[in-house]
């Protein structure tokens, strides 16, 4: 299997704090990988570093989009990272509140569309076609994610679980080859979590995306993941299949040392 994401020696310093310390991580094509660790371990910081929201202090981030040559992501602005096929969701939901559900997904299509200001003002036929296609594609994504019933609602009015799914729909609309999900099950009830589980597998099997997810719900992580990476205090302490990680003494120590964990 070829790695589509290859992170080497990623280090992130916040003043004196080493939020990430020489972390290595690879995700292979078609994989569902998980990044776990106690609160404050540096998981979200890891996402922020590879998506260009933070500029890492050291290290290399490389991607190999399917059918394309390997390229470096370091120093690239967030929007270019997304353009190259890495899409993410946020731990604290960040939807566009002033827009409808459909428009939120259409924002995801933005970087795949071309019409600029002049075309929009003149409403040329190519712009109209493009808009129509964008509406159609966005609606199709909502159908796949199971949110089509909310299509014209304002995004803020959605129930919590649906908001998390909308974040995934929006990310999917950018045509990614790798989806980065930051605690997608946070705040969901068991039924919603089960549906999320199915959705993630379905995405991997039908949408040609690989998935790297951060999650605290161990049941979900263990059932979903092909490969699990464990970080603690910014350092990677273990990697392997769910079975291997579960029995790893370092991992057990890291989790038992943290009473707020539910593992």
């Amino acid at each position: 299997m070829e790695p589509i994401l290859n992170v080497k020696n990623l280090t992130m310093n916040f003043g004196g704090l080493k939020a990430l310390d020489t972390v290595n991580l690879t995700v292979e094509k078609g994989q569902i990988a998980a990044l776990i660790g106690p609160n404050g371990a540096g998981k979200t910081t890891f996402f922020n570093c590879i998506t260009g929201i933070y500029e890492p202090s050291e290290g290399l981030v490389e991607i190999t989009p399917p059918g394309k040559p390997t390229q470096k992501l370091n120093g690239l602005k967030t929007n270019y990272v997304t353009e190259r096929g890495l899409a993410r969701t946020f731990q604290n939901i960040r939807l566009f509140e002033g827009m409808t559900v459909l428009e939120n997904v259409m924002i995801g299509r933005h970087c795949r569309l071309k019409s600029g200001i002049i075309k929009a003002m003149l409403r040329t036929s190519s712009q109209k076609d493009e808009e129509k296609q964008a509406v159609y594609d966005s609606y199709e994504i909502l159908e796949k994610i199971g949110l089509d019933q909310y299509v014209d609602e304002m995004a803020v009015n959605l129930p919590y679980g649906a908001q998390r799914r909308l974040e995934i729909a929006r990310a999917l609309a950018t045509d990614p080859f790798l989806l980065l999900l930051d605690e997608p099950a946070a705040g969901m009830n068991p039924q919603e979590t089960k549906e999320l589980d199915e959705l993630i597998v379905w995405l991997r099997d039908n949408e040609n995306v690989s998935i790297l997810l951060i999650e605290h719900d161990m049941k979900l992580v263990m059932s979903l993941s092909d490969n699990i990476h464990v970080v603690d205090y910014g350092k990677k302490i273990a990697e392997g299949t769910p079975e291997e990680v579960k029995s790893n003494p370092e991992v057990i120590k890291a989790y038992l040392g943290d009473e707020s964990e539910d593992a």
């Binding site: 967030t78 929007n79 509140e97 827009m99 428009e103 924002i107 995801g108 970087c111």
Partner: protein, 400 residues
């Protein structure tokens, strides 16, 4: 019903107001006779008015809360409902159209002239609405681009005799260029910093105009700016006002037409996304800087267009027309009318510009009234007079 607690609260508020306004309302120094007069009756009035105002304020606050509980969903403004309803849309628009058409012939010139000012503010408001309302960039120096347009017409006409109609597109282009040039360095800042820097830029433009005598006569300004011609024909003063009125109407329609298209396009959605959440917006593949710059430059374009009309209408401009107060007035139009809502901005401009003209008594207290209105709107209707609504896309569901 009014509760005991409310009465008590109002009582203390009235007391507080009496203390607060004591030096202003009660003490009066008579400088001729060198004595101090205490006007105690004023104190009583302040107390009574403060007490009643506080009761009314509380009453409305409670009404608002109850209304919110009663219906949370059906809050689409009535204007939008009229416009969405096929049956009402045509007659509604036709009525407005006919009114606009006969207005300058029915009412005296003075009213037409005031309406032109208001309509110029509609244009400015719609332009600033792109920057503040849609893209969420607090621009306090918007008047600078208004000045660019006005001076472009005055100077190009003075030196090269270029006519209104030719200047219009040139000024628009100049507005875009200035918007881009000013936006380029400042748009890296955000929020409060952006507001302060744009404020500074606005003032710089005014001060430059004031001190650069060779360019535009400094504070003396430029006079004798001709009003627009109609295929070479120059109207007399009365007809020329009517003519300008129709030009502004046309420009406003054009503005509404384009702004509406932009708002519901790829670029318009990007503006709103940027306003709602900068980080998520970038994570969706939107270039933050480019998107901000387009909003800023486009807003400037409309300000410049407004400036040209302003110069043509008043036939005299000087830097005093482009002070920070102008920027603030336009901002009030947007915020009170409804951020991001074109219809709201139109309503806001008409209310805020026409009211002071007709209520001459309060014209002096214009900024005070704006301030009070601002507070009232923010407390009772934070989304503005007429809230914006998003487009509902119509499409056929495909059968699988």
């Amino acid at each position: 019903m009014v509760t005991k607690k409310e009465i008590k609260q109002s009582f203390f508020i009235a007391l507080w107001f009496m203390v607060l306004t004591f030096p202003l309302m009660v003490i009066k120094v008579n400088t001729i006779k060198n004595i101090v007069v205490f006007r105690w009756t004023n104190l009583i009035w302040v107390g009574i008015v403060g007490f009643l105002a506080s009761l009314i304020w509380n009453y409305f606050l409670r009404m608002k809360d109850e209304k919110k509980k009663a219906d949370t969903k059906d809050n689409i403004p009535i204007v939008h409902r009229l416009l969405q309803n096929e049956k009402f849309r045509i007659p509604f628009l036709a009525a407005i159209g006919i009114f606009a058409l006969v207005y300058p012939f029915v009412f005296p010139m003075y009213h037409t002239s005031i309406m032109i000012s208001a309509l110029v503010y509609v244009m400015l408001g719609l332009g600033l609405n792109i920057v503040v309302g849609l893209a969420g960039l607090l621009d306090l120096g918007y008047v600078a681009f208004y000045a660019v347009g006005a001076y472009a017409y005055a100077l190009l006409n003075l030196h090269f005799g270029i006519s209104f109609w030719v200047v219009l597109p040139i000024a628009a282009l100049l507005g875009t260029i200035f918007g881009t040039l000013l936006g380029y360095p400042v748009l890296r800042l955000r929020g409060d910093y952006l507001a302060i820097v744009t404020l500074g830029f606005g003032e710089i433009i005014r001060i430059v105009l004031e001190n650069w005598d060779e360019l535009g006569n400094g504070p003396r300004g430029i006079g004798n700016i001709p009003s627009p011609s109609f295929f070479g024909h120059q109207f007399n003063q009365h007809n020329s006002v009517i003519y300008i009125y129709f030009i502004v109407i046309a420009l406003v329609l054009l503005t509404i037409f384009f702004v509406n298209r932009l708002e519901n396009s790829r670029i318009g959605r990007a503006w709103i996304a940027l306003r709602d959440d900068e980080i998520a917006c970038q994570a969706m593949g939107i270039d933050k800087f480019k998107t901000k710059l387009t909003a800023f430059a486009l807003g400037a374009t409309w300000a410049a267009l407004g400036g040209v009309v302003f110069a043509a209408k008043t036939s005299f401009i000087n830097p005093m027309s482009f002070t920070i107060w102008e920027s603030i007035t336009i901002l009030c139009v947007v915020v009170i009318g409804g951020m991001g809502s074109a219809i709201g901005v139109i309503a806001g401009a008409l209310v805020l510009i026409l009211l002071p003209e007709y209520l001459r008594a309060v014209a002096e207290y214009r900024m005070l009234v704006f301030g009070a209105l601002q507070v009232v709107v923010m407390v009772f209707k934070p989304e503005g007079l007429i809230q914006g609504v998003r487009k509902i896309y119509k499409f056929k569901k495909v059968e699988e």
